[in-house]
Amino acid sequence: MVALRNEPKSEPTEKWEAQLRKGCLELAILACLWEKRLYGLEILRGLEQNSNLVLAEGTVYPILARLKEDGLLQSEWVESDAGHPRKYYWLTASGRQRAVSMGHVWNSFAANLNSLLQPVLNGKGRS
């Protein structure tokens, strides 16, 4: 059991990790937008800084589109100094609500899982 710990990530682990990231992306995007309105690339930068959630950068945009369809985000094109307009997103009232409720779910979920994982990661007990 102990020997397994330092093994490189196996393929199933990678697949699971990719699914996990994908599942969390929505919450992470809502969290990024909590403070102020941002455009796609700024959201991506926020995600890169605080987590490594994003696999391909293009994946953020379809999710933004759906969150907007669901009424959680609102968007607007704004002219920029760069010479082309950028599409800014911000949270709607129901987007804020969703972020809070998802945040609570995440917190209790993570706390429960962490306590379950304590013996596993300490490497004590059965070997």
Binding site: Y61, P62, A65, A82
Partner: protein
């Protein structure tokens, strides 16, 4: 704003891949992703082909991005929506992926056509009371015939109108529920399969 053949061909491919999105939505997607690419290249004074390639690779392939838009915007929604139009559109895309999709589409069209015909007979009943109705004879049941009226006795009279509307509604509803079931049950599976094929 810099432009580059590599970037142009990338967006041409993406436009093709997104062809099943409605035009305004597609234009908006392209515009947004272009802004992303230009912003990424902004930091470099004179972007080389390699720089463009790096930015586009980080973005993901047009096939993959289009697939995700489809997953997020279309199939997810039509699996729950009740509008026959959006369901038929989803089915229409399916027909491109195989024979099962085609069979389901034909059955769906048939179901909706029968429903529509029943509504039409209800509408026309006041105009052609002797030609439209529920006619029962030894040869079976007839709903309408032109130019001669169908054989047999008309049994419903004016009640034919609510009868036809109800029956038409049941056909439309039944077809819609059946498609929704099929799309939800097999749609995701299909997507997984095509997704794997695309990433392989």
């Amino acid at each position: 704003m810099t432009s580059n053949p590599m970037i142009e061909s990338y967006f041409a491919a993406l436009t093709t891949q997104l062809s099943d999105l409605p035009q305004p939505k597609r234009d908006e997607v392209i515009r947004e992703l272009r802004a992303h690419v230009f912003d990424r290249l902004e930091q470099i004074a004179v972007p080389t082909d390699d720089d463009c390639r790096t930015v586009l690779t980080a973005m993901g392939t047009p096939v993959e991005i289009a697939r995700q838009y489809r997953v997020e915007l279309l199939l997810n929604r039509s699996a729950w929506k009740i509008s026959p139009w959006s369901l038929l559109r989803t089915l229409f895309r399916w027909t491109l992926t195989g024979i099962q999709g085609y069979v389901v589409l034909v059955l769906a069209m048939l179901g909706y056509t029968v429903g529509a015909c029943l509504y039409i007979t209800a509408l026309l009943k006041p105009l052609f009371p002797r030609h439209i109705g529920l006619f029962v004879s030894e040869q079976g049941i007839n709903l309408a015939r032109f130019p001669d009226p169908p054989p047999g006795m008309e049994v419903l009279g004016a009640y034919y109108i609510p009868f036809a509307v109800l029956l038409g509604f049941l056909f439309t509803l039944g077809t819609t529920l059946a498609i929704r079931f099929v799309v939800r049950k097999f749609g995701r599976l299909k997507q997984k399969v095509t997704g794997l094929a695309a990433s392989a």
